[in-house]
Symmetry: C2
Subunit: 349 residues, 2 copies
């Protein structure tokens, strides 16, 4: 299985840098790929133009394989009236906090889907495509495959993994409950996500026939060894790279990763309308405590985006998402290359 992963992806080490929209950058992906791992560029929900720019930036930084990550959710009906209470709450909180958030920034959203990014991926000849939040449609799978792509889906349960496998996907990320950021779930994720990596990974490794990649809680020799014991063909590491200098995370977020307790890293729908794991903060708590129904993803994500951007510009960790996995902690270095080299050393040691 391990050889299978390396062979299919063209990398040396079975270690993937997790795609983290808002955190990972062309510089981060390239640094990992240049060291013989698989870097990932996250473009979920971005415009075709922006996607192309990021892909080209990454290509300029590495000649090695890297993966491009898509979001494969559907867009729910866009109902302006249902957004009114949440919009009012956000404007109120922003005002209290001293941010000049305009009501115009909280409406008339333009949502991009992965279908609008297909042309760019084909044009840029991207051979490794990972995705999360759902399935790829059959026509797109056929198109990518005819272009020689390897496709990597994301599952949070055995049911999801089986559906991905049946659709013809080449590899599957088993995303344990421990993982930071958005859950990749597209079935059965209510009322709260449930399956831990220690159960999910061996179930998938035994019951699906494609290579399975472990995600959630992986950060050193012992967690990598445990993941391989449980049947992983490769491991995916996210949180460890958030504090690197190639990360787009704000300094206040990066600092909080050190010393945070797992019981303060919670699943929430507050920021985006989709379950995601991050460090507890005021924005999360106030939105949840408000009792206002949270619009589904990506509506809530767009509703909170302008506010979060203002907070980020002010390095204000109380009013932006602080994604983190349950094994957050000090990183072994301050830059992507050295964090990745640490992982390789741990893997070999």
């Amino acid at each position: 299985m391990k050889n299978d992963f390396a062979q299919r992806t063209g990398v040396i080490y079975p270690i993937i840098q997790a795609p983290m929209l808002g955190v990972s950058t062309p510089e981060m992906a390239a640094a990992v790929s240049n060291e013989g791992g698989l870097g990932s560029l996250a473009i979920g929900g971005l415009s075709p133009e922006r996607s192309q720019t990021l892909i080209r930036q990454t290509k300029n930084l590495t000649g090695k394989p890297f993966a491009v990550n898509l979001f494969t959710h559907t867009i729910p009906p866009y109902e302006e009236s249902k957004m009114v209470p949440m919009r009012r709450l956000l404007l109120e909180m922003a005002k209290e906090r001293g941010y000049a958030l305009a009501e115009s920034e909280l409406q008339n959203f333009r949502f991009y889907t992965y279908k609008e990014q297909i042309d760019v991926l084909i044009k840029e000849d991207i051979k490794l495509i990972s995705f999360t939040f759902g399935m790829l449609d059959d026509a797109t799978i056929q198109l990518f495959k005819s272009n020689g792509c390897t496709l990597i889906g994301t599952a949070t349960s055995l049911k999801e993994a089986r559906l991905l496998q049946e659709s013809g996907i080449d590899m599957i990320v088993a995303q344990g409950l421990e993982a930071g950021g958005h859950r990749g779930s597209f079935l059965d994720d209510e009322p709260l996500p449930q399956v831990g990596l220690f159960s999910l990974l061996p179930q998938l490794a035994k019951q699906v026939h494609v290579p399975v990649i472990a995600a959630g809680g992986i950060r050193d020799a012992q967690t990598m060894r445990a993941a391989f014991d449980l049947g992983a063909a490769a491991v995916q590491v996210g949180t460890l790279f958030i504090a690197s200098k190639e990360s787009d995370a704000i300094p206040a977020w990066q600092q909080q990763l050190s010393g945070v307790d797992a019981t303060d890293i919670l699943l929430t729908r507050a920021f985006s309308g989709r379950w995601a794991r991050g460090i507890r903060n005021e924005m999360m708590e106030r939105i949840e405590a408000s009792g206002i129904p949270i619009p589904p993803y990506p509506i809530q994500n767009s509703l909170t985006a302008a506010f979060r951007k203002l907070a980020q510009q002010a390095n204000d960790s109380s009013y932006t998402n602080l994604w983190a996995g349950q094994s957050a902690g000090d990183a072994p270095a301050d830059n992507t290359r050295d964090i990745f080299r640490f992982l390789v050393k741990e893997l070999k040691g």
Copy 2:
């Protein structure tokens, strides 16, 4: 650490049969201890007389060390008026289902605490005492220690583990979110338990100084190996023994363990007022959907007890708790001895 565990407990293999009140029996505990593992007898909440009877039965079946497991929760104020809506719902459901449940069985409860069991444990000279749902008080710890006891607490977070360690406990069970039955949590378990074994175990193994025992999802060679990689000194196995012939679980429950999907094994407070993981069924869903506030443990546990007993007598899996971990599945044998021998073979293999 492994040697430490064997040395302290006097067993050959670092494998514990999990205490499972309502499932585990003197026969089960003795079968495991006789094979060189650590059997566990669960007596949480039982009367001193019943506790003594079970301990003596176990002693009659094995001369080897076994652990006795206590519940260390406190008893919340008992408010009859607050129980009225739940009592009404239970009586209504029982009537619909055709069970002759009497209102008199749903009141005037007598709750036993671990303090009432101490005399029996000292008199019976029990040397291995495990506990869950909280801390032991200092005086009891001193008493047990002066009697040469080894004490094993249960933690679901690093904070809980640190408190247990500070209180002078000898070993700690790291109970991952994957584990079946009741959560051992005594801090921070709202709104839903969160920490997966893959994060919890290495955090505890690194940050507490006493041996850590892994619980949740352990069932074969690869899961045992992964647990030891993550720093466990021993593993605790529960669900695998539920379907054994020494188990008190009803046949309908035992059958459902085979082929159940992890996404149908949910955390619920419906049966006992305390978070516990079990297979989704009608009683769980109806109590949760009722919107009636669920009284805290052990009140709700006593409220539903008579109903569950009637259902168990009728082998009715829809109206009793079906505790199971997220890695439930076919057991390798139909009796405790052979299930344990399977684990030993996997451990050695």
